[in-house]
Structure formats: structure tokens, C-alpha cells
Point group: D2
Chain length 425, copies 4
């Protein structure tokens, strides 16, 4: 650990929550250098939906390396890339009647978002992008302007322009349809809210605290966009790739977004990859107008192609939903059992958690969980949500074991609180 | 190829220059699906300095995968990351007396640049960043504001703010020290050039057309920064990692930059990775204030660690310089032999090329080269430079063969021009 | 009229509504070159609260000119300026316990607003300014960013940054307290609404359509500002100087704004003048840091000093309120009499009018009024409000005559509508 | 004076240089409340070209007031405005073959500039405006972005965007044509200097330190603008209205600017007024798209119309040039006589002065001059220029007397310096 403290920047963060050196991982489990085992309810912040080192995904990769397959190809054509495009088209897009073209930005979520908003702006000739309270879209300047978190915004060190904030579903309580404000500003020539190029939305805000947009709200948002010819971008970087139970998180609401941003689990393996889906009429960059050295990460293409197989039929969806139900049940029970938690179960699919009403307590629960061998992180602007996000492939035994540790950690944290001690030794 | 045409975005670019599907690669050679062999004078735009699939780098990676090594770790501690930090500290930083801390941004060059300018702004409380004509720093909004290329800037679809352009070395001819203007504006309270947070500079502009900053100019730039307490950022993403003959491109000039951006070949394998080096007093992000899902690409750490071995002594540097001399000689001869080229040899190290004075001709030379089995790209705002950028590890036989194809391609393109035909069938 | 059509820019506007050449004016009346008389319910858009050419104000001006009094003095000291400052301090500020200092910006409302937001930004080190839907704050770039009107915003020809829009009182219907959203965003670290430098508000939106902020809403707004140390700016340019019945429009709500912007009627004569009032701790410009050639318009100081006499006791306030009551009664009756108007009486003091529910009808009423010898303008984003804004000094006979013309014009416009003709010959 | 210190904002500035209360003025002279007389070499920073209270201009104004002429008219038609437009067309535009239309912005120079850049942006659809080192264009946000002075820019309290700075003529010494840089960036697709909407230039920088653009430089600038279809804006607010010897300062260079900004002396009396001249194809605002309460200052129209008479023949021009020659001779002699001044005579017409090479000395000279009964101000980013700017109508006796006081003040300031005392008691 000293190496990190001495030589790595202070910006390092998860290492502070999980203070050990990890050495290997498989499925839903990791082991540190001391051989200690951890259950993973964190899943690389959503980048490891298919678990760690899944054989069916990694073996083809080893074969590929052994054959001296192309590693890096920018946007040249390679066999591995062709296979991915073909698979994605056949397994994901075609069955969903999605006519979208594939744009490969740099292999990070923020790059997918940057490419999306650039396209929205050049396609419409308009500048402003509507984004929502508690949104998270990335850390590069264009994406950061769209991101809600105050601390992260301060990191820009300069004024962030071009974004226009609107309240997310539920932001003003259950009885207020927050889209009334947005809708009204668009009808009103004096609102001062310029007609935007695009709206960017997460259907379920991961970093923002597991806030779920209702189907009705999402559909009204889409209708508003259609009426005013505003481009609808769904940032499905964390909630997509099956995390909420369907490949895209917007499937239950029946949305038809103009642009979709994917990253995190799209590579199937944890390798860096991102993908922007565009309706054909928005395919308006000139050749090379948005580029980047690592758009052609062929190892990611190889593993991504393997991961697509999970989506060939609906068995995987069913299994996710079954696990999700188990998690919901468990969390509801936990909240009911511990009124001092002031907990509310939030999220959907395998992206659930508990909004904890006591300041600092969510973090303490995660600290206890780590001591007990479970990796979990908090989310929300004040780290007030305990987030349960196991790999989608987790076996029942692992899920149950993890949930049981969570229950213990919760009890322990509450116990400490009662006895006046807050920090885990 | 149809798959790409039908389903991939129009933004795809290199695929148009190299219209074949590549299947495998080794060292300085690639093969397409038809088994055709190509010599690589492109090197992944500088991401493949150590060649394709070098055994000494890839075998440890396969071992790592076989051991179920961690793939993805955000900024958690892993054994693979620790080994890289230790190696980088011992082999690169310590021998050069560089006290810099390592910040791992998202695994792309633009992310390294974005992290650098954010830090410069929060550290100084100032907003503007000085950048240079024909600079290339990336495609996300913060980096794009610093980038010179008009077409790429238009891709933003909105006003790009926060950058202040200055003329690069040589921009106004040999007799004008372009820093006079910058220096004067800083001394003059009425200049309208606000004291900037930082200067960002490439010592050798790769995308901008192989423009070399002289040692004297770089040293004066550093002195100006010191005098006015401006942070000096070297973007060494393309010119670093040995490309110009030393690990950092600024070593011959003896610069001591406050921040260094690395990416491209830092992973040693073509896998996505980026690294921002900060002087300790600039290590001012809060934990998590700049984050990103793929900061912990452990496969890249594994291969990067292996690649560091090339720098344990100066044998590698010597070999690069020997090859560079060979390239220079060959290019000079080529230019001399073909006055209609109106060619000027440009660049240094293994990042050289010919600025071609005839519009469109550089591209035609590269097209001919491709037909003859050599991958080369152009650079410069008008694609006017033929760029010779082989893997640093290329064997003499490969280098000579490539240079000989270049000579043939040049003659062929000139011949076509004389006979009035421009496009390669 | 030809001279204007041939040589003046298309941007000319009121000349289209009032297509005649005016030659002289007195009190509440104007005469055109043909000697036609007009009653003034427009009052120079609020710049002529004391009527045209009031003897008690203009005679001292003629004396001043005859004595070769200083005309133009930048921010040098003059006798005329001293007299104004003294009078303003004694008659306006001291009795209201206002400790504010006087800053004289350029002699336009927009300049007062620009000075206010500059001060708010340098005083707080923060950038964003909260402004409201349907706000109007001026046409220079800083003020325009705060202004709501879409057409006027488009006039900028570039992205307008630095403003953050919030819904004005009543924007979302009677049952929604629109400040809930603003308040929530400030408490929420993930809201994406950065802590602003200032809030700028009109207590009664003149250009925006006579929208009245309630006392409760204004007081809550002030409380929010205090809690979060946000500077509260009241733009009292149109609603101030007695227009709503008290010198400052915020007096009934008991607000204590940090900065107040005044212009329009502050000079008492229609001569250009503006004034920014600052709490002493916000007096943070360096000498000369905000300047402008016409800050020292001494003719305006002379007439402004005379106008202050109206405020030495409360007789003037009483008379305004009596007239306002008469206007209200008359408008309510008019609305009740003509259900097809779909009218709602809006505003307060002598800044009232009718929000007309039929598209285009408000403008037609004003056209008819002009033909009948009454000057009135519309306001609102869609020119949907008929605005009654006579000089505050109007005699009863003039007020009644004007209101009677308004009644006729309304009937005439409705009659035309019924008969299918819309445009006045 | 106490009234000002107690109640006026710290931003007050000239009052600090000229610490007395002025009471009346006539021609080239002012008197303070103690009856002390001052010769005016300041002329309201260029707003009083026709002197103080000229009978031929003010008497028609008094007549106008006595006739109850319209004071304030926004952009309605008035007899006074018609007369001005007609006179300006006949006396100024027609003889110079200028097809420009007249736009009346708010009555301040900065408003003329704001209207000009808005038009340039909407006409071209481009955002950036080229401006020059040491430019001064005003204090509202759009104009301030174009202004060079660091202290004034800091007053914005936020990032200033949309301007692109280029070196003014002579900025890099006599042997460098500073337009080489601008021209090169426009030819170079990689320069990072986006094609601008407009160039805004002062032919003689008043606030910036009396820097004169040569005829050759101005003509080349115009040619560059024509070639690249960039709008050429001349800000003639200080240098126009005869200040340099011709009505427009750009007449000797034969420029044909697309937009001209006028203010300061355009009203002829020191009353607030501004005027933007547009080529007809740039007359692209919608009605009301740029507005402002005080666009129709009829007193200014009345006096402006009278002032136009000076330009009916070339006698006035001749007299200005004769006086200018006298000033030049005198300044050259002064500089020659006092080598420790390290003085350089700068400027042209009746906008001349001495660039003083000793820090702080220019200000000391002006302080001494004030004590001796002469008003003069400094200019330049470091207040390093003593500026001689009498009313154009000054009689020879006044000019000589003023120059003689300047000579004494210079000697006195140098004497103090030699004896080690810097501040005037």
C-alpha cells in the first residue's frame, strides 16, 4: 500500500474504501494479496456485469492473443471488430428494430457522452443540452458540464457552460411532475430556456443515488423531445448491458432514443470500451471529425462479442429479474428490521440499494461490509445510498452470502452509532 | 468491409485509407484476412512503439490472464498496478530526478489532457490555457478547445472557450521568435491576454505536421512560465515513450515540466492507458474529484511494466537514434532526388517525414504505399506531410524494406501526377 | 416618415406601433407634427413617471443651461452631482435606513445591471447568476444572458453563458411554490446548480408580462439568499421610482436587497441616467474598474434632484395608489364586460394591464387605441398583455379619458375579430 | 467633496485626479465652485470636441426645451430625430459615399459596440471577434471581452469569452508586420484561430496609449477581412467626430468599414448618444431585437444636428490640423528639451501626447498640471502616456496657454523626481 501512498496522486479514491491490494478475481469473488476472499457487490461500478474472468469470455481472448490477433487498430477494419459489429447488429439491434449506426469513440463512458453531445449540436445547430439534477455523465469538460455533483464540478476549475439543468423525476416530491417546468419553458418564448440541442438522461441514476425515472415520466420526456425536435440521448453507461434486467434500461418504457451511450460492461470483460449508437440521420460527423487513439481496442471487441451470447434468448433476463426480486425482498426486510436506518429501498434490477436517512451511516455500513469480506460502494451526492450491484451472473449462494454480510454490516454500523463510535478501526 | 459500411458511423477514417480487414500482426508487420503482409510505418499513430504482439510483453499478459489476474479495478490497489508504479518510479522518474506523482486518468490521451488542465485551473484559480497553432490535444471538449484543426473544432458544434492560441516555433518563418508575442503580452497590462493557468505544448507536433520546437524556444518558454508562475504542461502523448529517441521528448532540451501527459505507447502493447505526471505541489484534486471507470486497466499495467524494461539502460535509445539517422538520410535523399515533390524533411527521432509542397500529393504517396504493402499516414492540417513512424523496435531489414517502398510510392505518385492521373485505382 | 424608413435600421420598433412623427409633449400628452394630440399610457416604457416636460423639473434645467452649468463630467465632482447625491441620501436612503452607496454606471438600465453582476461576481468569486423566467434585464451581453425573451436572446448571435434560470412566482400555477426547486438545488450537493454569486429579480416583471411576485415569495427568496450567502439584486429599473406606488417596488415586501438597479425615471425628465445602489461591503470595484463616458450626465442630475421632491412626504404615494385603484377598477370592469377577451387583470400600482387570452388581440387593441389618440404598448413574450402605464402625475381627467379610449379600442378590436378583420387600416 | 467620499462608490476615479467640485464651463475652460479656472486638455475623454456649452449648439437646445420639445422617445419618430438623420445623411454619409444605415443603440459607446458585435455574429453565424492588444471597447460584458486592460477585465469577475486577441500595429517593434500572424492563421486550417465573425479596431487607440495604426496596416487589415469575408468594424468612438482631423478617423486610410461605432462627441454637447452605422446588407436585427430605454435622447439629437454644421465645408478640418501641428511641434520640443522624460510623441490630430519612459511620471505631470490649472489625463495600460486632448474648437490663446502649463508641469514633475519627492502635496 505504501507505493500508492507515496507515488500515486491524492485523487485516488476506491483504494481508501477498500484498503488492500487485490491480486486475483473470478466470477463474483476477489482475493487480495493475503489471500483474503471478498464477495463483489460492486462489480467495477457496473463494468463487470458478467463477473470477473468468465471462462467463456476469457478463453477466446487468450486464443486471440496466442494467434497474434491485432491488439490496437484505431478505426481500421479488423476481423475482431467485424465480428463484434455483426453480433451487436444481429443480437441487440435487429431484434429491437433499432436502426442505429455504431460509432466507436474513445474507450470510456465520458467519450461516448462527448461524442453524443457533439453530434447533437452539429445536427441541430443549437448549443444547450438539457441534463438533470443528480446526473452523472463523466469528467471531461463537455460531460462534466452535464454532471450534477458539486465536488466534481469544482474540479473543472472554470465555469462550465452549455448545460441546462432540469429536475429529475421525483426531485420535488411524489406529487409534482417535474417535466411540467421543462415543458412550460419550451412553450414560452420568454422562458429564457433556449431550445436545446438535446436532452441527456439516465433512466436510473447510478451515481446520483439510484433515482428511478418512472415509465410515464420517460415517455412524456420522449414526447416533449419529439414535439420540439430535440434529440433524446439515453446515457445507458451504467444502467445498460443488462444491469436493470433488459439489455437497454429503456426497454420497459418502450423508449426510442436518438442516441444511446454505452460503455462499462459493453466489453464483457472489464476491458475499456465505449459505443455510441446513432439514428442514421444523425450520423453527421465527417470522417475523422471525432477520433482517438484507443477506439480500436480489439481485446475488448473479442470479449464483447462473447458477452453478446448472453442475449441470444431471454434466459439471462429472467435470471437477472429473479435475482433482483431476491435483492428487493432482502433490502425491504432489512429496512423494516432497522427503523433507525431511516432507509428507503431504491433502484431496480441488480442496481438497487438503500437510501439511508442518517448522515454518514451508509459509508459506515460499507466499511463494515468490507471488513466482513464484501465490496460495496455508496452513491448519491452525499454518499447516502448503500449500493447493491453484484455481477449479473452471480450464483445464488454468492448473492445470499453477500446479502447476509450486508445485514450484519448494517447491524454493526447501527450498533456502533448507538454506542457513539463511528469509525471502523 | 460491407459490415463496416452498413453499420459503422461515417466518422470512421483510417479504414478509408487502409481499405482491408486486418487479422493479425507481429512486430513491424500486419496481415489482412487475405494473408497479405504490410509493413507498419504507422505504429497505431504512435501507440505501438514496441511493435505488435511482442513476445516479451504479451507472454506475461497471457500468464496473468491464466492466473485470473484482476482485469478491471478502477483506482483500487492491485498487484499489477503496484508493479507498474514501482517500475515507473525506479526506471523512469528516479533516474531523471523527477519528483512527479502519478495520476491515472481514464485510459485515453484526451483524458490525460483534461486532467492536466483541470489541475492547472484549480491550482492557480485562473481559467485560460495557452496552446499553440497546429496543436493536437484530443477530442473531448476541454482538449478540443486546445486543438488547432478547424474540421475537428467544428465537430464541437459550439463555441470553444478557455484556450488562448499562440504561434508555435517557426510559425512566422525562421527569423521570428514567436515567443516574443507571448512574452510581450504577459508584461503588458493592456494586452488583453489574461495571465493563463498553464501553457500546454508538444515539443514535436505529431498531428500538426511534424513541427519541431527548438531547444532554445522550449527553454525560453519554460523561463517565461517560471517568471509568471504559469504551469508548464508537456503533452508527450505522441512524442513520448521513446518516439523521439529519449523516453520523454523534452529530455534533450532539459525541460522540467510541471505536468506531463502520457498515453499511446505507455501501455507497451497498444492497450488503452494514460498517465498524468504532476509535481507534488500540484496534486490538488480531492479524492475522486477526477474519476472514470477504466482508470484501472490491469492488462495495460502488466504490459506497461514489461515495456519499462527497454529503458533500464541506454541501449534502446541508441538503437532508436541509429534508426532515426537512417530514416533521415533516406528521406533527404528522396527529397533531393525528386524536386517536384517540393519536399522538406521534418521531425526528429522515429517521428519524421516529408512536408510535401504539392497539394494532395502526400495522400497519394500513402495510397501508393498501401498498395505496395506499407502502412503510412499523413499529418498536418491539410494532410500535407508523409509521416514515417515505424515501431521503435523495427529490425533493419523491415526499416529498409519500408523505406524502399516509400521511395517507390513517391516515384509512382509523382509519375501519376505527371501523366495527369491522381487517384489510385 | 420616409427619412426613417430609408436611413434608420430595421431594428426600429415603436415607430411601427406609433407611426407618426412626434413634435412636442407636456404632462400626459404628446402632439405629433400634424398637431394631433395623444394621451400617454406608455410613459416612455416607464422613463417618464413625472410626465413630459414638467415645469418644476425643466425650469431649473433651463436655468442651469443658461448659467453654463457643466453638461458632461464623467465621474468628476460637480455641483449638480453633489446636490443629487445629497438629495437622494436625505430623501430616499436615510428615511428607509438604507446604508447603500451610490455607483453611477453608464446612463442606461443595462449598464446598471452589468455593474451589479460584475460586483456580485468579484465579491463572491462565483460566476453564475440566478435569473427568472420572463425576466428582462437589458441587451448588452451580460444582461442579455439574464433576459428571457427568445427573440432578443437570438440577437446575441452566440451562446449566452453565466446565467441560471429559475421559475418566477406563479410560473407553474397557483399551487406550486416555484422556490421549492431553487431551494432544493442549493441544499443538494448533486443538483448541478452551482452556488450562484447572486439572484437578480424584478418584483413585478414589466417586459415579461406584468407578472407580480407575491410578498411571501419575495421574502422567501431573500431568506434563501441570506442562508446561502447569495447576493440579492433587485432590478427596479421599470418598477422603481414610484411606478408601483412606493419609491422602491420592494418596500411593501420589506426586502433589504444588497444591490438595487435604478434607471428609467430616476432622472425625472426622460434624460439618460442610471444608478446602482450597493451595500457598503459590496463596494469592491477598484477606482475606474467600471467606467463609461456618460456617467456624469449633469442635466440628468439637475432634473433628478428636482424629481426627488415628490418623495419628501407621502402625498405622492397616496395619489399614485388612488389612481392605481381607479385603473384596477376600470380594467376589471372591462374584462368582465368582454368575456371573449379572455382577460386577466395583472400588475400593481400604475403598472397594470390585461393579459389577453386571444393570440394577437392585445396588439390589435393597442393599434385601435393609437388611432383613437392613446399610446399604449403590449408586453409579454408573445405581446399578449395590454399595458396601462401612464405618467404617475397624470390628472384624473387624463386618466379617465385614456381609460375610456382603452374601452373603445377593446370593443373595436373585438368587433373586428368577430367580423373576421384583424388589421387596422 | 465629503459627500462623494461618504456616499459614492469607490469606483469613482477622475474625481481623484481632479479633486475639486466643478460648477460651470464654457468653450475650453471650466470653473470650480471656488471660481478657479481650468483649461481643458481632457475634453470629457473625447466627448466634448465642440467645447463646453457652445452657444451655437446650446441655444437651439434651450429653444427646444422652451417649446416643450420631446425629451425621450425610445425609437419612436420625432422631429428632432428626423432632423438629425437627415443632417447626418446629407453632411456626413452622402459626401463620403457611405451607404450605411443608422442604428441607434443605447446612448453609450459600449452599447454601440455591443450592437455591432451582435450584428456581426448573427450576420455571419460565427462567434469569435478579433480584437487587438491595448484595445478599449467598453465595460459591458460583450465589449469588455474585447478590451485589453487587465484591471478592467478582472472587474468582470468571470471568464470573458468570444474574443480573440491579435497584436496591434507596432506591438512587436517597427520591423514586424503584426498582421502576418493574423493572415497566416486564416490561411492555415490547423491554426486553431476560428474564422471570426468580425474584426474590431480603433485606428488610434485612445485608452490604450495613443497607438497609431499606419495606413498600410489598416489597408492590409481591410484586405484580409475582404478576402475571408470577415466584417470590419471600426470603433471610432474616441477617434471619430473630428478628433484626428477628419470626421471619421479612417478617412485618410481610405477604409470602407462595414460597421462604424460612434458615441462621445456625436451629440455635440456632451449629452449621452451613440450611433452604429451599418452597411445595408448587415441590417439584420428584427424590429426590437436590440433595444434600450434611452435610444431616443432628443436633446442629444438637437445638439448633434447643430454640431453637424461644423462639417459642411472643410474649414473645420483645416483648423484642427493647424492646431494639431502646433501641438506636435510643442510636444516634440518638450521631449527634446527633457531627455530624462524618455518621452516619445504619439498620436495624431488633436489626440496626441507623450509616452513617458519613467514609471509613474506621466501621472505626476498631470497632477502638477491640475495644480497649475490644466486638466489632462493619462492613458495606456500603466498610465504612462500624457494625453493632450483639448476641445477641437479651442482658440489659439487657450491652446498655447495649456501647452505652456504642460511644459511647466513637466519641468516641475521632473524636478520633484530629481529631488526624490514624487507626490504632489
Amino acid at each position: 500500500m505504501k507505493i500508492f501512498e507515496q507515488h500515486e496522486s491524492n485523487v485516488r479514491s476506491y483504494i481508501r474504501d477498500f484498503p488492500t491490494v487485490f491480486a486475483k478475481a473470478k466470477g463474483y469473488r476477489l482475493w487480495d494479496e493475503q489471500g483474503r476472499e471478498y464477495i463483489d457487490f460492486f462489480a467495477g461500478a457496473g463494468a463487470l456485469n458478467y463477473g470477473h474472468n468468465p471462462d467463456r469470455i476469457m478463453e477466446p481472448l487468450v486464443d486471440y492473443i496466442r494467434r497474434d490477433g491485432i491488439v490496437h487498430s484505431l478505426d481500421m477494419a479488423t476481423s475482431a471488430k467485424a465480428a463484434f459489429i455483426e453480433g451487436f447488429q444481429d443480437i441487440i439491434l435487429a431484434p429491437r428494430d433499432m436502426p442505429h449506426k455504431l460509432l466507436f469513440p474513445g474507450p470510456t463512458g465520458t467519450n461516448a457522452v462527448e461524442s453524443a453531445i457533439k453530434i447533437a449540436r452539429i445536427a441541430t445547430g443549437r448549443s444547450s443540452i438539457i441534463c438533470f439534477t443528480n446526473a452523472f455523465h463523466g469528467m471531461t469538460l463537455g460531460s462534466l458540464a452535464l454532471t450534477g455533483n458539486a465536488k466534481k464540478r469544482e474540479g473543472a476549475g472554470t465555469r462550465l457552460d452549455g448545460a441546462l439543468r432540469m429536475p429529475f423525476d421525483g426531485y420535488l416530491g411524489a406529487n409534482i411532475d417535474t417535466l411540467d417546468y421543462f415543458a412550460r419553458t419550451l412553450e414560452d418564448n420568454g422562458s429564457g430556456v433556449d431550445l436545446p440541442a438535446a436532452v441527456i438522461v439516465e433512466t436510473l441514476q447510478g451515481e446520483g443515488g439510484l433515482n428511478v425515472a418512472s415509465t410515464a415520466w420517460l415517455q412524456r420526456l420522449e414526447a416533449i423531445c419529439r414535439k420540439h425536435e430535440i434529440i433524446l440521448i439515453v446515457d445507458d453507461i451504467q444502467a445498460g448491458c443488462g444491469r436493470t434486467g433488459t439489455f437497454f434500461s429503456f426497454e420497459p418504457a418502450g423508449l426510442d432514443p436518438d442516441i444511446v451511450c454505452l460503455s462499462k460492461s459493453i466489453s464483457g470483460s472489464g476491458l475499456p470500451m465505449a459505443l455510441t449508437l446513432l439514428k442514421p440521420h444523425l450520423d453527421c460527423f465527417c470522417p475523422g471529425q471525432h477520433n482517438g487513439t484507443f477506439r480500436g481496442n480489439n481485446y475488448a471487441f473479442v470479449t464483447a462479442t462473447e458477452a453478446l451470447r448472453y442475449w441470444k434468448d431471454n434466459a439471462f433476463e429472467k435470471s437477472i429479474n429473479a435475482k433482483a426480486a431476491k435483492v428487493t425482498g432482502c433490502l425491504v426486510e432489512l429496512v423494516d428490521r432497522h427503523p433507525p436506518l431511516q432507509g428507503i429501498v431504491a433502484g431496480r434490477g441488480l442496481m438497487q440499494g438503500i437510501k439511508v436517512g442518517v448522515e454518514g451511516l451508509a459509508g459506515e455500513i460499507c466499511q463494515h461490509a468490507f471488513r466482513l469480506g464484501l465490496l460495496m460502494e455508496t452513491s448519491g451526492a452525499d454518499s447516502e445510498v448503500v449500493k447493491v450491484m453484484p455481477p449479473l451472473v452471480i450464483e445464488d449462494v454468492g448473492l445470499e452470502k453477500g446479502l447476509s454480510i450486508l445485514a450484519k454490516a448494517t447491524a454493526a454500523a447501527l450498533g456502533r452509532r448507538r454506542s457513539g463510535v463511528r469509525h471502523v478501526a
